[in-house]
């Protein structure tokens, strides 16, 4: 009984948030709704990407660049959409499920790992890529894996699982946390900290930036598997279609080219044991 007032408060607050979200997004919502219902018609496709992830999804002036962006374009092309039909929308990590469920976007290509808990609210096409947790270190560092981290300073973003995993394995490591990976990478580049940890391809994206050319390297000993999928609304019937497009991308070599173009500059190659990824099996 004691909890009831809080529940009521929580429900009221949640209701208020949902209402305000509906209000402000009215214009955008309409578009999204019709597109989803029209299915594979020729009238626009809203794709959620990251806007702040170099090498994967980055808004650069009016352009969008990165691996996720290129994969999204290639998939859309295979599904019969032209370049002009695509509209890119920012989908921050915490809002991805909500955006799909509310129909604000049709698909999400945003380093979106397929997990069981997420499959309860959305469905996934793919995976189109298998990343793994890895370490980014200075070019001349002798750190070769998580075991070498004892007594070193590791950086990650606040509240991320990846950092906690390492901390459990290597208790001697000290963890500095920042709001974004850019701040971690900045501190790594000026030698203040020893390593940054998250998915290898994200790290490769940072290492491939011009500002860090020749300074940083990805260790290349991934110690987890992250299956990057394409997020779709559970009602969407285009999931298998996306899978076919993804399989075709790996078969005709487009995918290798996309990886090379976006994250290859720092000498990064995807883990050959897990890539090419087998698309399929995660549709609703």
């Amino acid at each position: 009984m004691k909890r009831n007032p809080f529940r009521l408060m929580a429900v009221l607050a949640a209701g208020a948030l949902i209402l305000s979200a509906c209000g402000s997004d009215d214009g955008g919502d309409d578009d999204g709704g019709t597109t989803a219902e029209a299915g594979g018609g020729g009238d626009g496709l809203k794709i959620g990407i990251k806007f702040d992830q170099p090498g994967l999804g980055l808004k650069d002036g009016d352009n969008y660049v990165g691996m996720d962006v290129d994969v999204a374009r290639a998939v859309a092309e295979k599904m019969g959409y032209s370049e002009d039909d695509i509209e890119f929308v920012e989908s921050p990590s915490a809002q991805r499920e909500t955006m799909l469920q509310a129909g604000q976007v049709d698909m999400i290509f945003a380093t979106y790992s397929i997990t069981d808990s997420r499959k309860e609210s959305v469905q996934f096409a793919g995976p189109y890529f298998v990343a793994g947790q890895d370490l980014l270190v200075a070019q001349d560092s002798d750190i070769a894996g998580p075991d070498d981290l004892d007594g070193k300073i590791l950086c990650s973003v606040t509240g991320s699982t990846s950092a906690e995993n390492v901390k459990e394995e290597v208790p001697g490591v000290q963890l500095q946390e920042y709001g974004t990976y850019s701040e971690c990478v900045e501190q790594l580049a000026n030698g203040t900290i020893d390593a940054v940890t998250t998915d290898d391809v994200i790290l490769a994206g940072f290492a491939a930036q011009d500002a860090f050319a020749g300074k940083l390297k990805v260790v290349g000993a991934p110690f987890s598997e992250e299956l990057y999928g394409v997020g779709l609304n559970q009602e969407d019937d285009r999931c298998e279609e996306v899978n076919e497009a993804l399989t075709a991308l790996w078969e005709d070599g487009t995918m290798d080219q996309i990886i090379e173009d976006n994250v290859g500059a720092a000498g990064y190659t995807p883990n050959p044991e897990t890539n090419p990824a087998e698309a399929g099996g995660h549709c609703a």
């Binding site: 408060m9 606040t158 509240g159 000290q174 920042y178 701040e183 900045e186 501190q187 203040t192």
Partner: protein, 226 residues
């Protein structure tokens, strides 16, 4: 609710908030007093330094200052406020950098609050103090400041309450205080997010309400009756 508090160490987080507030309050009070004295001093260069400090710091976002302490002072300039050999280097260094950022920012507000206290004292008192032969520092410590503090209790209390709530900003450099734990709740327990909000809000009310009441009580009690 109790599980939420235990699992996400909310009590430890609030303790961290209290420590950040206490240290920053003391340091910013000292720094702010020095600045206020500089601003009312007859020496032009001191006055100018004090004014510049307040104008710069008061108009800079706190997030920027705190991030600069971590990325600029520590990262670029290599200033470390803890021993690198220590097992808790990151925690200590982050905490001290956070206190530094919070202190220099709020010192500007403390300075202005005190200056408003100085302005409540009739000019004749300072003139009288000087004319009976007290030096500037004597008239400051014996006549002006004691009255200025008593006149400035309400604005100082406001700064303290603002400081308490502003400590949430230092989550940006990874200090494990309340906002930092809330991020963890948002990430791992989205279903309990609203409850988490409510608990944190309640915690802050518990922290700041007595401060406000004490401020009102003290300002009524200690006010200089003229």
């Amino acid at each position: 609710m109790t599980e939420l508090i235990e699992e996400y160490q909310l009590l430890a987080a609030f303790w961290m908030t209290i420590k950040l507030t206490a240290y920053s309050a003391v340091i910013s009070l000292v720094l702010g007093t020095i600045l206020a004295i500089m601003r009312v001093s007859p020496v032009r260069i001191f006055e100018w330094v004090g004014t510049t400090y307040v104008t710069l710091l008061r108009n800079t976002p706190l997030t920027l200052i705190v991030l600069f302490c971590s990325l600029g002072l520590w990262g670029q300039l290599g200033i470390e406020l803890a021993s690198r050999e220590s097992d808790t280097f990151i925690v200590d260094n982050g905490f001290r950098l956070a206190v530094l950022g919070l202190s220099v920012y709020h010192a500007a507000f403390v300075c202005e609050a005190l200056r408003s206290g100085v302005n409540t004292i009739p000019l004749g008192q300072a003139e009288a103090a000087r004319s009976i032969g007290l030096t500037f520092s004597q008239s400051m410590t014996q006549v002006i400041l004691p009255q200025a503090f008593r006149g400035a209790i309400t604005p100082l209390g406001n700064v303290l309450i603002a400081l308490t709530k502003n400590t949430t900003v230092v989550a940006a450099i990874g200090v494990a205080e309340t906002a930092y734990r809330m991020k963890a709740i948002a990430e791992f327990e989205p279903a309990l997010l609203m409850l988490g909000f409510a608990v944190v809000a309640l915690g802050f009310v518990i922290l700041t309400l007595p401060m406000g009441m004490l401020t009102s009580y003290l300002s009524a009690r200690l006010a200089v009756k003229r």
